[in-house]
Structures are given as structure tokens and as C-alpha cells.
């Protein structure tokens, strides 16, 4: 308290320090939420766990990733750079020796993994569902101490933007694969597989371009939009898809799994590709 007179008596003051020793309300219940707050984080946990399991199994299966007849390549093996890759599937050369612990797409997969791990949406998702920090709003944190993303290793989340740049390249590669798949052994043709690949690429782009870092670098970092009309246009576009980033994150997971499962099924001969043209 700023005392202002000689007779000033100490008393309560509004100018108190940020951290006081004054107690909070003594409420026994840790949370008074009565709705099913545990449901959304639960679903997320199950969904992510299921997907990761599937993807891990598939990545190390190292077969049924290429449909030779229609040139379908699953994104889990793109670009296929291992020396063991089927030569036709390796659109960008084979130069990495095969080791059991290395997937065939050993360059792209770690980048994709880092990209999604450091994605602002996935961070929210796994901080809530796996790290319980917090599991839901107004529900206590599962940890006694908390320093957020201020220290190693979580401070590395700040490098998300650089993974974004790399992923743009990889998504371009996926797009290239998608185009190549229109030309199978019998020349140009369209099958259900092509449509699934196309769908996947569309959602991959939507997810990638709606990234918060993308929003920042296209225009968000500017102080004066009015002086950069073109970048403002880009920013407006990204800002329009950005609110759906979470949806795109899940949908693109879905389409990735779908494409992969489809390619696997066709490649293994469990189903035959539905052809519309040639």
C-alpha cells in the first residue's frame, strides 16, 4: 500500500502483489463439472492411439505398398528411398540401406511425424488426452509442477514452422505420386484408387495450408496489411481455412489410413480396383 500520510495505518490495498498468500476458496471437490468432460479427451486418446498403432504396423510391414498395375503408391512409403524398395515405386531414387528399424520412407516419415507432433492442434489434443494438462477445462491438471513450453524438450515445439516448410515439399511429393498414378501399366486410366489418392491429397493440402505457422508466414506477421495487398489476400485465404484446422487434422488422418488400406488391399489382391476408365 502506498501510504500517504504520517498517520496512515496499514490496511488492505488493491495494489497487492501478483502472488499473494491469501487463500483461495476452500472447495473440497476437485471439479464441480457434472457433464461428461472426460468424453472428448477419451475419444481423442483412443483415436490417436488406434491410428498410431495402425500406422506403425503398416510402416514396418514393408509390403503391399505399391500396386504395380495402376502405379498406386501409399503415402506411408513415399518417397520410397530404401535400397530394398520396388524400383518402380521409388520415384526419387534409392539410396538408404535397409535396416529393420528404418522404414522405407525414412526421410519423409520423421518429418511428417515431427510436423504433426508439433502442430498446434495436436499439441492441444495430446496435452489434454495423454498428458492430462489439463484433461478438460476447469478440471485439475494431472501434474503437480508445470512449466509449459518454456524448457527443453517442449521448447522445441517452437520449431514447428520449419517442419512446415519441409512438409510442404513432402506434400508436393505426395501430389506428384497422385498424378503418376493416373498413368498405370496400360497408360492413362482412372480407378477408384485414383479418387482415393486425390481425396487424400486434397485434405493433406488443406491440413498443411491451414497450419498456424502458414498463416503467420503468409501474412500474419505483417503490421500493415494495407501495404501488402497480395499477402493480405493469402492471409485471408489461410485465415478462412485455419479455423477448420482441427477437422482437417482428423480427416487427413482418416484419408491417409484409407488410402493406405486401399492400396494394401488392392496390392495384396484382396480386392480389385474399381476402374472407371481404362
Amino acid at each position: 500500500m502506498t501510504t500517504t500520510g504520517a498517520e496512515s495505518a496499514p490496511g488492505p490495498s488493491k495494489a497487492q502483489p501478483a502472488v499473494t498468500t491469501r487463500p483461495r476458496a476452500a472447495i473440497a471437490e476437485r471439479t464441480l463439472r457434472k457433464d461428461r468432460w472426460w468424453l472428448p479427451p477419451g475419444i481423442v486418446a483412443i483415436g490417436l492411439a488406434a491410428w498410431v498403432t495402425y500406422a506403425t504396423v503398416r510402416v514396418f510391414l514393408k509390403e503391399n505398398y505399391w500396386v504395380a498395375e495402376h502405379h498406386y503408391l501409399t503415402p506411408f512409403y513415399s518417397p520410397c528411398v530404401s535400397l530394398e524398395c520396388i524400383p518402380e515405386a521409388a520415384h526419387f531414387g534409392r539410396f538408404v540401406p535397409d535396416l529393420p528399424i528404418l522404414p522405407y520412407a525414412v526421410i519423409s516419415l520423421p518429418i511428417l511425424l515431427l510436423f504433426r507432433l508439433t502442430c498446434y492442434y495436436y499439441r492441444k489434443a495430446y496435452y489434454r488426452s495423454f498428458w492430462l494438462s489439463p484433461p478438460a477445462c476447469a478440471v485439475p491438471d494431472g501434474h503437480a509442477r508445470y512449466t509449459g513450453e518454456t524448457r527443453f524438450p517442449l521448447v522445441l515445439q517452437n520449431f514447428h514452422r520449419y517442419t512446415f516448410y519441409l512438409v510442404v515439399v513432402i506434400t508436393a511429393i505426395n501430389t506428384w505420386d497422385m498424378f503418376l498414378a493416373f498413368g498405370g501399366e496400360a497408360g492413362f486410366g482412372i480407378g477408384l484408387g485414383n479418387l482415393v489418392l486425390l481425396l487424400n491429397v486434397i485434405f493433406l493440402w488443406l491440413y498443411t495450408l491451414s497450419c498456424h505457422s502458414c498463416r503467420h508466414v503468409t501474412g500474419g506477421r505483417l503490421k500493415h496489411f494495407s501495404k501488402h495487398p497480395i499477402r493480405y489476400r493469402w492471409w485471408t485465404f489461410v485465415s478462412r481455412i485455419n479455423p477448420k484446422h482441427m477437422q482437417f487434422a482428423w480427416i487427413s488422418l482418416g484419408t491417409l489410413a484409407l488410402v493406405d488400406a486401399y492400396v494394401m488391399a488392392v496390392s495384396a489382391g484382396w480386392i480389385t480396383d474399381l476402374r472407371f476408365f481404362n
Binding site: T2, T4, G5, E7, S8, A9, G11, P12, K14, A15
Partner: protein
Amino acid sequence: MSIQRHQYDVVVIGAGGAGLRAAIEARLAGAKTAVISKSLFGKAHTVMAEGGAAAAMGNVNPGDSWQVHFRDTMRGGKFLNDVRMAELHAKESPERVWELEIYGALFDRTKDGRISQRNFGGHEYPRLAHVGDRTGLEMIRTLQQKIVSLQQEDRAATGEYESRLRVFDETTVTELLLEDGKVAGAFGYDRESGEFLLFEAPAVVLATGGIGRSFKVTSNSWEYTGDGHALALRAGGKLINMEFIQFHPTGMVWPPSVKGILVTESVRGDGGVLKNTEGQRFMFDYVPDVFRAYYADTPEEADRWYDDPDNNRRPPELLPRDEVARAINAEVKAGRGTKAGGVLLDIASRRSAEFIQRKLPSMYHQFKELADVDITAQPMEVGPTCHYVMGGVEVDADTGAATGAVEGLFAAGEVSGGMHGSNRLGGNSLSDLLVFGKRAGEHAAAYATALPSRPRPSQADVTTAEEAALAPLARGDGENPYALQQELQDVMQSLVGIIRRRGELEDSLQRLAELRERVDKVGATGGRRYNPGWHLALDLRNMLVVSECTARAALEREESRGGHTREDFPDMKPEWRRVTLVCSLAGADEVRLAQQPVTPMRPELAGLFERDELAKYYTPEELSSATADLG
């Protein structure tokens, strides 16, 4: 008992737009300043203002100038305004608004990057600087942040944020302390702890806002108990124009969650009609003879007007505000109103849901979100709502110093009177706060500096104030403050409301006198820590004395003008324009009313008006002297 003592050069009571602006100016003038507010810092009533702040910047229409603004203000106030105040206001408001930009405000912009201005009723040109519909919030936040930045400067200079400017939030002032007719300080309590505080200061600026809580249906918050009005009265100041209160004819009366919130006129303009509980569209019965020629007699003709306004007369729902209010009032009094004391405004049964949503999006969303009322599916319950008090502390226009038997008292904002005359134009209040807040702060600081010796509050006065504040707590089984407040609101709403009659006003004075006796016996249970019952018990005294001023002045003024409508004297009378009604206190709490002549307009200002226009307001002899000067 311990009491915190503080010494300041200037104490500003009220942290709304006016109070904060005054405090900034006083601090800039070098005075050690305190700001006191009943609520938290930045939550004062000013946050509710929506429309904008009127200032003749001419950004949208370069034809605008202070002269035009001045003219509009005088017309709005029906020429009862304090001319000097209206002039200063019109001249200085652009600068005050621009100043806000330096403090960090972000108004909506025009194409060429200036502050955008919007149209508003009564203003000839687009004039209201605005930010969406939250201009008041922007203003208070800006001033709040400016105060913080001054505190940061002080910290850099002295090591303490609060060395020269300090905000006392959640602190209520209950009494001003004087010595020989000079302000010596202010006495109050901290709401949080219930502890008493004594501010020793030679200059006090009142910026406490209005009195709307004395009415049952009001758009005002609990802060509006007329504290500043009552403090000024008790200190020897005078209140003027207290009979003028702005009502809006259609405020929501039900459901309670939106009581007092305004329903814009455009609901009626877009096809909404007023019905009583018998389902009758009653406005046809209330068209006064002077308007007969312009308004439809049959519902069929009225309904044709919406599509074909050239060949049909307007629906009577679009009569002037006071006529609509009068009609609603009459219906309710005749027992054809709803339980909550309103009538039904029905647009749902007359227009399609898409039409309503397209034409009235903000109304639709407001009611949907706040009250779950779907205005496309059900009628609204509306009635007259108290909105703003034009009357207030009489002040010197240039300095903001209160007149009367007190020195060192200043007032600005809604608590001061005169600027708006008998009716306020939309948007003129926010700019009023800035212009006169600045002036009051500046002159309060100058007064405090120039004073040769500082008056000191006497211990006896402090003890009396303490006892008065503690009295309700000692009467644990006294009258329930909430019940008393409700009764007071009933009396004011039904007897001194929007339409007034001699008999009812006399009645109200008697009921107020009865209430006063009961308020003297009000009690509060619980301790001193954050006890709303106790706080209300202390506010009641102020509400009562201010209500009495309003009732007495309303009884005295035998004409209808602006915010004062007498059913028994429905016309505006030039003789009454020359008179201001002044309230003061005789003895402890006895209200005295006097008439005071209005200062005439300077010739160059009078020259801004057409002679014909002045003729409508002036008596013939006034008119000849005013125009004679013009030559």
C-alpha cells in the same frame, strides 16, 4: 476503530469516462490524484454506451462544424441547455476524441484512414465516432490504459506505480467533509473489507453518473443511485433540471433477464405493432388531434404504409416517443397491461422469421442469447425504460466548479446538469464526459495548487460519518433494504415516470416522505465484509433525496418539454423556457426548490438560428431582444 487516512490534491469520485478523464488531466497538471469507484476499475457504467461519441470532426461529411453541432444540441435540449456548455462541448469534442487515439483507442475507420462517423437521431451530419456497438467500452478501456501508462511513468520516476495517481476500486464515498464551506475531504468505506477511509483533499471532482436505479425499469446498473447528486446537495451544492429524465418508450420489461434493455424503434418501423393483453392494437385510440392528418385511422391503411408510404398514412405505432410512451402507460394503468407492467410488441405474427432476422439481426441475437426469447416466434413485452438523467449538479461551464455554498467541489459527466437541457441527443454524453471531465480535472488541480492553506476535516464530522455508516448494521432487525428499494422504484416508476400528473406527483411526494421515515430505520444483517445488504442500505438515503428533487421539480414545471411530460400541461411554454428549477437542501435532508432565470444566448450564437425557429421557443419580448442584438 482504525481508519485509513490518505492525502491527495485532487480526489475524483467515479471511474467512468468523466472521472477517468478528470483524473488524467489532474495528474498531468501535477496534482497528486486519487480515483474512487464503487465497482472494479474499468467496469463503470460507461461500458454500456453503444452508439458512439458525437464530435464535429467532419470526417464523413466535411460540411460539419462546431456551429452545426451546437445547433443540434440546443434543438435537442429544446433550448434549455446551458449555452456556454453546449458551445464548449461542440468546440472541444473533436480534440478530445482525437486525444483518445493517442491513448490507444481504435475507432472504426473511413476509407481514407480517418475516424469513421455514423448518423444518429437529431444530428444533422454523420457525427458519432464509434467502434461497432461498443464505443463506451472502447472509451473506458482506453482511459483505463492511459491511467496505467501514467502510473508506469510515475514508477519510472519515483519507483512506485501509485505515487501520483492511485485508483481505489470497490470503494464507496458516503460523505463529503467541509471546513467553512470549503471541501476538506471525502469519507467512505472499502466494500471488500468494510474498513473506513478518509481522503483529505482540498478539491473533489464528482463523476458518479446518474440516478436510474430509482426506477423499476431501467437500463442503468446498481451504481446509479444518485450518490454524487446527493453528496453535492449535502455539501451545499445545487441540482438543476432534475425533472428531465430520458425514457425510452420500448424497453423490455419481461423476462427479467433483459428487463430494461432497449428495443430499437426500427422494430416498429419494420412492421411491429403494439397490442394490449386483450389483443387489441390500441395505438389507434391514442392519436392526438394535431397528428390526425398524418397517421392512419384503420389497421388496413396502416398496413399498406409499409409497402407504399407515399399514398398511405403512417401507422400510429410510429408516433413520437412520448406519445407512444403515454399510450403504453395508459393501457397499463387501465389494467390491460401484462403482469410485468408492459404491453406486447408483436412482429412475430406479422413478418416472416427470415425477414426479421435479416432486418433486425442484432435485436434477434441479443434476445436469443440473453433471454432465449425468439422474437420471430413470440411477442416482446415492452414498457417505458429510464435511460439517462439530464439534470444534475449545477456547475460553472468553464471550470466545472459546483455553484452554491461550497468551494473546491467540481462535477462532470452525467452527474452534472445543464449541458443537455431538457433532452440529450444520442452520442452527446460520451463527448460530454471527455470535454467536461478534462476541464473539471484541470481546474480542480489548479484550485488545489492555488489554495493558500488546506482545509482539514474535523474529527467530529468524521465520527458522525462513521456512525451514520454503521447505523444500519446496528439495526439487524430493521427494515429490509431490498424491500424499501423496490417500493421506492415502484413509486418513481408509476407516479414520477414518463407521463406525469399533478395528483400523482403530489401522491408521490407523500409516499416518499413515508419512505424516508422507514429508510431511517433500515437495517442490515451480516458483517462489514462485502455485504451488499449493508451497501444498499447506505445508498437508499441518496436515492431518496434525489427522487424527491425529481418529484418536486416535476410538480413545479407546468409544461411538457423534452424529458418531462405533464399530461395536464401537454404543451411547451416559452415562459417556462426562461426558468431553471434548482434544488438545494435546507437543514439535514429537507429539499428546497427555487426558480432561476436562464442565461440568454450570446448574439453571435443566437445568429446561428433562423428567427422562425427561435420564435417557437422564445417569448416575444425575448425574441425581439435576441434579434435586436443581431442588428
